[in-house]
Amino acid sequence: MQPIIQIRGLEKTYASGFQALKGVDLDIRRGEIFALLGPNGAGKTTLISIVCGIVRATAGSVTVDGHDIMRDWRAARSLIGLVPQELTTESFESVWATVSFSRGLFGKPPDPAVIERILKDLSLWDKKDTKVMALSGGMKRRVLIAKALSHEPRVLFLDEPTAGVDVELRRGMWEMIGRLRDSGVTIILTTHYIEEAEEMADSIGVISGGRIILVEEKAALMEKLGKRLLTLQLLNPLDAIPPEFAGYPLTLSADGRELVYSFDTQGERTGIAGLLRKLGDHGINYTNLRTEESSLEEIFVSLVKERA
């Protein structure tokens, strides 16, 4: 199936001379949650802004569901909802008025039932007549999401949706984003919180220095780049790793009670069996062992460092 968003050779140089994007190619599949990860200033917001029509590209092309964003901008934009990073809301309008305004702006006839459903989904219904400026930060964020959803878009861009949102609300937002995906909306989110991408995304793209350095399905990414750790709890604490084990990637905890062995999940042989046998041979007994995978955060940091 044709990707819902196709980006080819996208470049952006700002008037200041700063090159925010240096040739980005990216396909986003229909109906997935795509997380765009990257450090500050990597080009995340620039990329989103170009697709949404807020920033002009210097070179390259973007299509949304087959519609070119320049030639066929009306059709392309009608499909997109954008939740910006900053809490930029009207101040004096009621929640109802500002969300209804957004629907009209995107060319849809008024439909109170749709607005009602969106506001209820976002737990804003009892605030519908409240002026936006009287709302808390978390509620304003939800108002922005409601505005972006008001015209029932097929693609939703969330630029750091949970920045400055408390833990409980973040959970709620993740659930809501999950429900949206289930209803067939493609979701592209940028985030600093690796946790967020790990929790929700189907695919992950990493952008750094204006280039996409990796796009992968989350599971595959975790597997491919993940390191596993085997931790052994020792019966008798060690002072140091015995010299016979010098060739193994082992570390000893400060109290000498835990021995940590790291291995690559991709390797044909993990070497665990050999290690355990050798430990037994040397009389090092353990009471417990556990393995863990490295988190996406660790993968991400190592990736960006590698490129830097």
């Binding site: 949404c52 059709a75 934009r77 930029t88 008025a97 629907r103 009209g104 702006l105 006839p109």
Partner: protein
């Protein structure tokens, strides 16, 4: 044509007027009433009639024009500057709305407000002086065209300004002087010959003259010339607006 968007912008902008009703409508109406009391009743009594009408009645079209000019500029500039200032303009820029539709929405709302304001000032003036309208059709036409033209000017100002100060300074330094010197309070023929020539460079002269003609049938400049000037100003403003959206000036990076 995204008619829903035009309607959404238009209603949204008029709602802003409604919210700030006192400041938007009552302010200019009260200040115009004060002009009538001071110039029309207190000082005007000492003047003989101007061009065949009492000074109080002579003032009416000029005062209406003056309020309509300044309010159009300030309303339209505020309407588009506000979303730029607060950042909510992102939504407009990402919406399937053309430049033309945006302008109809914003300028249409600002002009509507000005026409309502002008009508209210006329009604208020009726309480102070007796006047007649010789050419009602042209009166409305001049009112509407002026409202639209100066709302366009305000729209341009609102996009150009990058601070509240700039937003205030253009009306204060340019629009208000032009309006005061545009013959609102006097007939050009009362000026010395040299200044009669200079004043013809002031576009407001043509507006006030044409508008006054629609009331009393007498004008400082030929009414056709007034019409041409309004049309010309409107065309210039439209061209600038078109250029703004084409280049994304101050709107898009």
């Amino acid at each position: 044509m995204n008619l829903h968007a035009i309607k959404a912008i238009y209603i949204f902008e008029l709602a802003r007027t409604w919210r700030t009703l006192f400041q938007s409508i009552a302010g200019p109406v009260i200040s115009t009433s004060l002009y009538f009391i001071v110039f029309g009743a207190a000082i005007g009594g000492r003047f003989a009639s101007v061009e065949g009408v009492s000074y109080g009645a002579f003032l009416v079209p000029g005062l209406v024009m003056m309020s309509v000019l300044t309010e159009s500029v300030s309303n339209a500039s505020f309407g588009i500057y506000m979303p730029r200032y607060s950042g909510t303009i992102y939504e407009l820029l990402s919406a399937p709305v053309s430049a033309f539709e945006t302008v109809i929405g914003y300028v249409g709302a600002a002009a509507t407000k000005s026409v309502i304001l002008g009508t209210l000032i006329l009604l208020t003036a009726r309480l102070f002086v007796d006047f007649s309208i010789a050419h009602p059709f042209w009166m409305v036409a001049f009112l509407v065209m002026t409202s639209v033209t100066f709302s366009l000017l305000g729209f341009i100002l609102g996009i150009w300004a990058d601070g509240w100060e700039k937003l205030q300074i253009v009306p204060m330094l340019i629009v208000t002087p032009l309006a005061f010197l545009g013959g609102s309070f006097y007939s050009i023929s009362m000026l010395p010959p040299f200044w009669q020539k200079v004043t013809l460079f002031n576009p407001v002269v043509y507006l006030v003259s044409g508008f006054r003609w629609s009331f009393y049938g007498a004008a400082d400049v030929p009414v056709a010339l007034s019409l041409v000037m309004v049309a010309l100003m409107m065309a210039i403003c439209l061209a600038v607006v078109w250029w703004i959206f084409r280049t994304g000036y101050k709107l898009k990076n």
